[in-house]
Amino acid sequence: MTRIRSGPQALIALIGIVAIVAAACGGQTTSTAPSTAPNPTDATVASPTPAALVTPAPLPADEPGPNGGTVVRWFVGLGTGGQPQQVAAQTAVVTAFNGSQSDVYISLEIYDNQVAGQILRTQIAAGNPPDIIGPVGVEGLNLFIDQLADLAPLIASSGFDMSKFDPALVDFFKMGPAGETIGVPFATYPSFLWYNKALFDEADLAYPPSTVGELYEGKPWDMAAVRELGMKLTVDANGNDATSTAFDAANVVQWGFDMQWADNSPIAESTLFGAGSFVAADGRTAQVPDSMRVAQKWFNEGVWTDHFIPNTSQINSDLLGQSNEFMSGNLAMNQSHSWYACCVNPAPPAEPIVKDFGWAVTPSYNGTTTSKLHADTFSILKTSRNPEAAFAALAVLAGSGELLSVYGAFPADPSLQEAFFATVDANYPGVTLDWSVPQAMLGYPDIPNHQAWVPDYAKSKSAWQAFQNAYRTASGVDIDAALDALQVTLQGIFDAAQ
């Protein structure tokens, strides 16, 4: 080996080595090569990098924010808030708030809903948790129930007015293990039937009713009527509907009904046939309510026998907007919540496909109407270093009319409801929105809520999602046997969680 000369060359080499070490210690290398041809020098496991939709500039934890205020981190993604239409609005609200005062500085982080829970867990475990999470619904709260602070002392000390809310909603958020108040009423999202008027007009069919108890074409407005209507509104490439003998089930181009974005939840689907839970009243015994068996068979037949409900491949196809089914204009009826007001139109500059739509009441089953309810709030984590500042920010967020409108959120504060109606109306010029429908549906919530707590919620949810995906993916599933197997699986999960 050639001898390295001492002096300047050695010094340069040493400086280079130090620079390389400093660079290596400054960040972690992550393989970006395809997993079939990994970087052979990188032994780390390939994993997806959950990209934040909004990435804040890192702020020192104990120093004032750019406006001189206490830094409060707001974590968005556990519920709504990740759609492109919403990101800009949330950013604008935060910017305006930060610029209007110097006590609190909100640092906004928005993550995709699919990975937000995992990211939050990781942040908590790493000792780097945010202060505020939200908007978050019952399910998100269930996943982090032990991490949430009791807001009652903060509500009392700040003088936040809770009297303006419906007492039932106030009690709704006393969800902590010992009845702690973990959120303030912010928004409710009643569910109802969205229908595409153009498809009804094309089929020369009357619109569904907008009043509970109203008949449809002289018959009760129930799940049997939805099936019949759905089949008439399901059309193949030759224009034959699903009631026709010439109907080609292999070439469907328009579907009659679905419950869009129900998160692969059989409990959610089953609420149309009555509320229920996979856990019995004792909190540890797995069960499958009868209403759920009826519901899942109804949906299964709707997909594979009557063909008015799309299967998984169809949902993910271009025909149904790659899962935004109602927006595609090829789904006649969608049972969904008021938050869907965010997404009927595609993000600009794309033009709306569904030019006119209406709202109808949820169909009944055996004379009972059940309309599943989502309710969102903002919560503060126990680990927040500045709970007072966090609550001050939370109070502003919870009272923001701009956020309510962009979330499609029915305000819990009655004084904000008219303004909310006007804002959503303005987003859909030419569409007449009947606000009496969502208001009426608030009176028929699913109790127990379809997102209510079960033991080891994350694992239980994974199990029931697998069930729902199985029947939506392949025909021939024995629903009773699959539900029995699911019950056994859930019992194992519940037992392990004790």
């Binding site: 080996m1 041809a37 780390t44 475990a125 993910n316 025909l319 994974s462 697998a466 392949a474």
Partner: protein
């Protein structure tokens, strides 16, 4: 007259008599360690350190949401793994996928390399670039595009098959077709292996081919008796890398199924199970145990391959 019988001085390092018994000087060794040092430091800080941490974690019930309540539980995680049907199913799914994907990748990359190394093929450079380009596309983005391409209803592939009067399988939601689908996606990004194979092909002395042809050997005989043996080190390297990558398979499966391992757990590979246990369910201790199971599996298979290589891989220089 010059004395040509004077023996040349022996190299202190490469002398056949001294071999490994004469070591480089201490100063030379120090310089070597200095230059390797940054990589060693990175290895310790970013690889070995976390590995040891995960090993320790695998003997605890560490939970992401309650990191302060960690307890030492001994081998409970490993015992639980032994009886967990999810783990068994994931191993089967991973092996099934590997049996399809690995041979396909090896054969296709070699075939492309032979084709794109042919002297009579015009525009070899641009063609090699085109074949390599998919490697540069981010994996998640490409997977999302492939999902559209493979969609049973509106995907282009089924559109082409339908136009040809062929069956149109459900590439993504069928337990039968999901592995060929994933293998197809993998084939799109074989550029790395193709390039490595091309380098291997170009390192084969052309005199051997000329001699073979003079002896009347046909193309297949030349390929089988000359190309493959002399390519064996390169092929072995590719095999090890493909094997490791296949057992670490994750991104495409996660993207296509939202992490659920659909259809019916067919894509619930070991790596995906690890991720779900650790980050979705928050059971980091159990996830760490699954990670070490995966490590042990891959290490074991790699050692078997290296043992196999002693007899089947030909190193022209005699070294390994």
């Amino acid at each position: 007259m010059t004395d040509t019988t004077t023996p040349l001085p022996r190299s202190p390092v490469w002398s056949r008599a001294s071999g490994w018994r004469r070591r480089p000087s201490g100063r030379e060794a120090l310089w070597g360690y200095l230059f390797v040092g940054p990589w060693l430091i990175g290895l310790v800080l970013f690889t070995a350190g976390p590995m040891l941490t995960s090993l320790a974690m695998s003997f605890t019930d560490f939970d992401l949401l309650n990191p302060d309540r960690v307890r030492f539980i001994g081998l409970d995680n490993y015992l639980r793994m032994a009886g967990d049907p999810t783990i068994g199913g994931s191993l089967i799914a991973t092996v099934r996928f590997a049996l399809i994907s690995i041979p396909l990748t090896m054969i296709a990359s070699l075939a492309f390399a032979v084709l794109l190394n042919h002297s009579r093929l015009p525009a070899r450079g641009p063609l090699r670039t085109l074949v390599y380009m998919p490697v540069m596309i981010p994996l998640v983005a490409s997977t999302l595009v492939w999902m559209g391409f493979l969609n049973a209803e509106t995907g282009w592939l089924n559109g082409i098959l339908g136009a040809l009067g062929l069956p149109e399988p459900d590439w993504i939601n069928s337990e039968t077709w999901i592995y060929p689908s994933l293998s197809l996606i993998g084939l799109w990004a074989i550029g790395n292996f193709m390039i490595i194979n091309i380098a291997g092909l170009q390192s084969i002395p052309t005199e051997l081919y000329e001699a073979a042809r003079m002896d009347g050997a046909g193309a297949w005989t030349v390929f089988r008796r000359i190309t493959i043996p002399l390519m064996s080190p390169v092929l072995f390297y590719n095999l090890v890398i493909v094997l490791i990558g296949t057992f670490q398979y994750f991104t495409q499966a996660y993207t296509m199924t939202n992490g659920r391992g659909d259809p019916n757990n067919a894509t619930l590979f070991v790596n995906l199970v690890l991720f779900r246990e650790a980050f979705v369910f928050g059971k980091m201790g159990y996830g760490a145990a699954v990670a070490w199971l995966l490590f042990a599996m891959v290490l074991g298979i790699t050692l078997v391959l290296f043992a196999f290589a002693r007899r089947r891989v030909y190193y022209a220089g005699g070294d390994r």
